[in-house]
């Protein structure tokens, strides 16, 4: 976990925001970021870090915001995109599993 992600998440919490962390937990084939790569998301949608080359971050941020509201954990899987879903697929043809969790008090 890199320091800027930890530090940003900590500062956001201390400023009274809700925060969730998304972590790449498994990859298959040509995945853009290795297992352990993380994204910290603030309740208003601001984020630091990455879990892909920018392909699925938008979808992960939405899930992260819903996880903050539910205070639940969630596993997401993204694979090769179909034609309609290019925005939330991986153009590189890989497959990744992402674990999303809220940071709770």
């Amino acid at each position: 976990m890199s320091d800027d992600i930890l530090t940003s998440a900590r500062q956001w919490l201390e400023a009274g925001h809700r925060v969730a962390i998304a972590t790449v937990v498994k990859t298959w084939g040509s995945a853009p970021r290795p297992a352990g790569s993380q994204l910290a998301v603030r309740d208003d949608g601001a984020f630091v870090g990455s879990v892909s080359g920018g392909c699925v971050e938008g979808a992960v941020i939405e899930e992260a915001q819903s996880v903050m509201r539910d205070e639940s954990v969630r596993k997401l899987e993204f694979g090769v995109s179909d034609e309609q879903a290019w925005a939330v697929g991986l153009a590189c043809g890989g497959r990744i599993e992402i674990f999303v969790e809220p940071v709770a008090g």
Binding site: D3, L6, T7, R10, V25, G36, V73, E101, V103
Partner: protein, 238 residues
Amino acid sequence: MKQRTLQALDDAHREGRAVVRAVDLLSGEEALIHPGNDSSELEQAAGKAARADQSTSVEIGGRTWFLTVCNPPLDLAIVGAVHIAQPLSVMAQIAGYSVRVIDPRTAFATAERFPGVSLSHEWPDEALAKAPLGTRSALVALTHNPKVDDPALTAALSSGCFYIGALGSKKTHAGRRERLKQRGFSDAALDRIRGPIGLAIGARSPAEIAVAILAEMTWQLRMGGSEEQPAARGTASG
């Protein structure tokens, strides 16, 4: 993740301590593990992941845990506060290194030239005895001056650091090898020193040379400096 876990991870990172966070991917239950305390199966797996510097998932007793490795930052010791050291110190910090510059010449190693970098005006052997090189360290010798570079290279060769590079032409490097050989280092040991320093990418300016050096450090760190020609390959996976 508990807020106090996040704080503990952030503190460990600032203080340069390795820590592994385990999370049950079904329930979200978590544990903080300090590598070295390998009594349970989960702790053993965490210790292994930390040593490999590789976050990974493990199955233990029917549960799937993901282990996030938080290792202390990589360490780059630059000997010689020369022009190349300026872009190199900035680029290496972006790449995740904690950077220190060692140069006994006080006019070179100044805070104006190296904002935010830890500076030492000691001789390299003294500075490296106080803060030794470890397995996550790289040493780059840039002074061209054997009186400064040689003690630094001697300390590096006696350490387990993952990268040693020295600036200078093939001829300069041959002379350096001869001097260090007389101090008792074998040819195999001296082969650890990358000289002339940096990948052959035609670098000219100090910033380009810094790119070549950082690329060679990355190659050594991630691929063990395998002889497969890195410059001929795609540079990133994915």
